[in-house]
Amino acid sequence: MDAADERRFREFVSARSPALMRLAFLLTGGDQYTAEDLVQTALAKAVVKWQRIDDPEAYVKQIMYRQQISWWRLAWRQRETTTASLPEGATADDTSGAELRLVLRHALARLTPRQRAVLVLRYAEDLPEETVARLLGCSVGTIRSTAHRALARLRVTAPELADFRLSASEVTS
C-alpha cells in the first residue's frame, strides 16, 4: 500500500467508521468492545486487498456479517449476550414506546448472532432477502425461516411486544 492508498484508506475509515461501528454494535448485540474488534478485524482484512476493492464499504460490511457469525458458529469464543433484567413492572398496559424499544433491545441481545444478523440486515440495513442470503452464504428460504424464528423468539423473550401486530407477511417481506 503506497502513500496515496493509505490516505484513501484513512479517509474511508474516517468517513464511514460511525456507520460501521453502529452496524457492528447491532451485530454484536450491543457489546461495544466486540463491536470494535469486529470493525478492526474487517478493516485489517480490507487493508490487505485495498487496491483491488471497488466498493470498500460493501466489502468491509460483508466481512463483518460473516465474521460475527463465524466467531459464534465455530465456538471459538462463545459470547454471552448482554441480558440485563427487564424493566420492573413493564406490562402491555402501561408500556410506553420508549420502554418498548428498551424491551425490544434486550430481546434482540438474546438472539443468536445469526438470528440477529438476519434481522439487522433485513430491517436496520433494509436489504432484500436475496441480498441477505448472498451476504450470509445461504438460501432465501433459510433467511425467511431464520427471520421467522428470530421474531418468534423476540415475542417469547419480550411478551410485552405481543400486543403489536406481527403478520406472516411482515416476517417474510
Binding site: 474516517s14 460511525p18 470494535e36 460493501a58 471459538w76
Partner: protein
C-alpha cells in the same frame, strides 16, 4: 411488532456505539489494545479454522468475500411480496376488507383483496381559457404501519406495488429531482436528480423502475394553445401513415426518463412528440404496459385509445397482453376481461367470448381478486346523488360493499384523485 418499530429500536440502540478515533491506525499498523490483542489473534486463528473446515465441508464455514466489482446500489429496495390472492374477512388477514365510512376524505385505510387505496389528492380547480388550472392541492399518503392517511408536502406522488415506497416530487412542478420515500421509516431514501424537469412519475409493475414524464412547464396548468404541424406526430406502427395531429395542444410535455431506482440513476432522456396524440390535456404522463415492457399514453381517439412506445420513446405496437381500452383489464387468473368503460361495462370470459356480467352503474377500476372488482360509485343508500366513493363488487354485480363514501359539494369546485395500488 412492525418492521418500523424494529428498525427504530435498532437505529436508536446503534447510536449508543462509541466510535474509536484510531480504527485506521489499528488496521494499518496492527496496533493492539490489551484486550483487542487477544481478539485479533483469535480472529486470525478463526480464519485458519474456516479455511481448513471449508476444504472438508465447503458449506460449513463462511468464505471471505471476493473483491469483485458490484453494481452500486444506492437504495436497497425490499422486494414487493405477492399481493393477497383473495378478498378475505377479518381485519388482520392479508386480503382483508378495510373500510372507512365515517370520514370523507378517508382517514383509515381502505383496502380489499389485492388492492389498497394507497394515496389520494384533493384540491380545487380553476377554469382558464386553456382548461382547468389544477395546481396546488394536497396529496395524502397511506401509512401502512398505522393504517391511516397522512397529509404530505409533495406536489405529486405515486406508490409502488407493495405499498412500501412512494416516488415523490417537491413543489412546485416541474421538479428537478425525484425522491424515493420509504413509508416504513418515513424518510426519503434518496433524491434522484434529473436534467430535464419532471411533472409525473409512475412505478413499473415490478416496483424496480420509474417512468418520469418531463415537462417544460407545470403540467397542471394548461399551456397557451400551440399549433401542431399538419400530419405532425410520430409514424403509426404498421400503418405507414403518420398519426393525425391535434389542431392545438396545451401541454409542455417533452419526453421521459426510465429510472433504475436501486442505483438512483435517471438514465438517458427520451424525447416524445406531444403532437402524436390529439389530446387537449396539459398533463400527459406516460404509464407502463401491464408487463412493464412498454410505455403508453392516452391517445384521445376511439381508433387509437392508447399510444404505445418502447423504452427508448419509439412508437410501438401494443403488447400481446393489450386488453383494449379497459381500466381494470384481465382478472388475476387470466380468465375474465373487463370491457370498455360503460355504462354498461361488460365482463367477458376470454376462453369462450361469452359475456358473463354487465355492470350498468359502476365504472370498474381494478380487480380485487378473481371474483371481485373495485368500482367507483355508490353501493346504494347514499344520501345525495353526488355521493360516490369506492365499492367492492362481485363479478356478477349481486353483492357490493361500500369501502368509502365520498361526500362532496358539486358547487365547491373540489376535485379528487384516488390511487389504487397492489398491497
Amino acid at each position: 411488532m412492525t418492521p418500523r418499530i424494529l428498525k427504530e429500536a435498532m437505529d436508536e440502540w446503534s447510536r449508543e456505539a462509541r466510535v474509536p478515533t484510531d480504527l485506521a491506525d489499528r488496521a494499518l499498523r496492527g496496533r493492539r489494545r490489551g484486550r483487542l490483542g487477544i481478539v485479533t489473534i483469535a480472529a486470525v486463528a478463526t480464519a485458519a479454522v474456516i479455511v481448513s473446515v471449508a476444504l472438508v465441508v465447503p458449506r460449513l464455514g463462511p468464505r471471505e468475500p471476493a473483491a469483485t466489482p458490484t453494481r452500486h446500489e444506492v437504495i436497497h429496495l425490499a422486494p414487493a411480496h405477492r399481493p393477497p390472492a383473495k378478498v378475505t374477512s377479518g381485519d388482520d388477514t392479508d386480503g382483508s376488507v378495510l373500510t372507512d365510512m365515517e370520514n370523507s376524505p378517508p382517514q383509515k385505510m381502505v383496502a380489499a383483496g389485492r388492492l389498497a387505496l394507497s394515496a389520494y389528492w384533493t384540491g380545487t380547480g380553476r377554469d382558464t381559457r386553456n382548461g382547468p388550472d389544477m395546481r396546488g392541492g394536497t396529496w395524502y399518503l397511506l401509512d401502512p404501519a398505522t393504517r391511516t392517511y397522512q397529509k404530505t408536502p409533495w406536489a405529486y406522488l405515486n406508490v409502488a406495488p407493495g405499498l412500501r415506497y412512494a416516488a415523490v416530487l417537491e413543489k412546485t412542478l416541474p421538479a428537478s429531482r425525484i425522491g424515493v420515500y420509504d413509508t416504513e421509516t418515513r424518510r426519503v431514501l434518496a433524491w434522484i436528480p434529473v436534467e430535464r424537469p419532471v411533472g409525473g412519475v409512475v412505478w413499473s409493475p415490478d416496483g424496480t423502475r420509474l417512468v418520469a414524464t418531463t415537462y417544460d412547464g407545470d403540467p397542471d396548468l394548461p399551456e397557451a394553445s400551440t399549433q401542431c404541424p399538419p400530419g405532425g406526430g410520430d409514424r403509426v406502427p404498421g400503418s405507414g401513415s403518420r398519426a393525425p395531429s391535434a389542431n392545438r395542444i396545451h401541454t409542455s410535455r417533452t419526453g421521459f426518463y426510465v429510472i433504475d431506482v436501486a442505483t438512483a440513476t435517471a438514465g438517458d432522456f427520451h424525447a416524445v412528440d406531444p403532437c402524436s396524440a390529439p389530446s387537449s390535456r396539459s398533463r400527459r404522463d406516460f404509464a407502463w404496459s401491464r408487463d412493464g415492457s412498454l410505455l403508453y399514453e392516452l391517445g384521445g381517439t376511439g381508433e387509437r385509445p392508447e399510444l404505445f412506445y418502447d423504452l427508448n420513446g419509439r412508437p410501438h405496437d401494443p403488447g400481446v397482453d393489450y386488453a383494449g381500452q379497459s381500466q381494470a383489464g384481465v382478472s388475476p387468473d387470466g380468465k375474465l376481461l373487463v370491457g370498455e368503460q360503460g355504462p354498461p361495462t361488460s365482463i367477458t370470459e376470454l376462453a369462450t367470448g361469452k359475456v358473463v356480467a354487465r355492470h350498468r352503474e359502476l365504472p370498474l377500476s381494478a380487480w380485487a381478486d378473481d371474483d371481485h372488482l373495485i368500482g367507483r360509485g355508490c353501493a346504494g343508500g347514499c344520501g345525495d346523488k353526488f355521493d360516490d366513493g369506492l365499492v367492492l363488487v362481485s363479478v356478477d354485480g349481486r353483492r357490493a360493499v361500500q369501502l368509502w363514501r365520498h361526500r362532496w359539494d358539486p358547487q365547491s369546485r373540489m376535485w379528487w384523485l384516488t390511487a389504487l395500488t397492489l398491497r
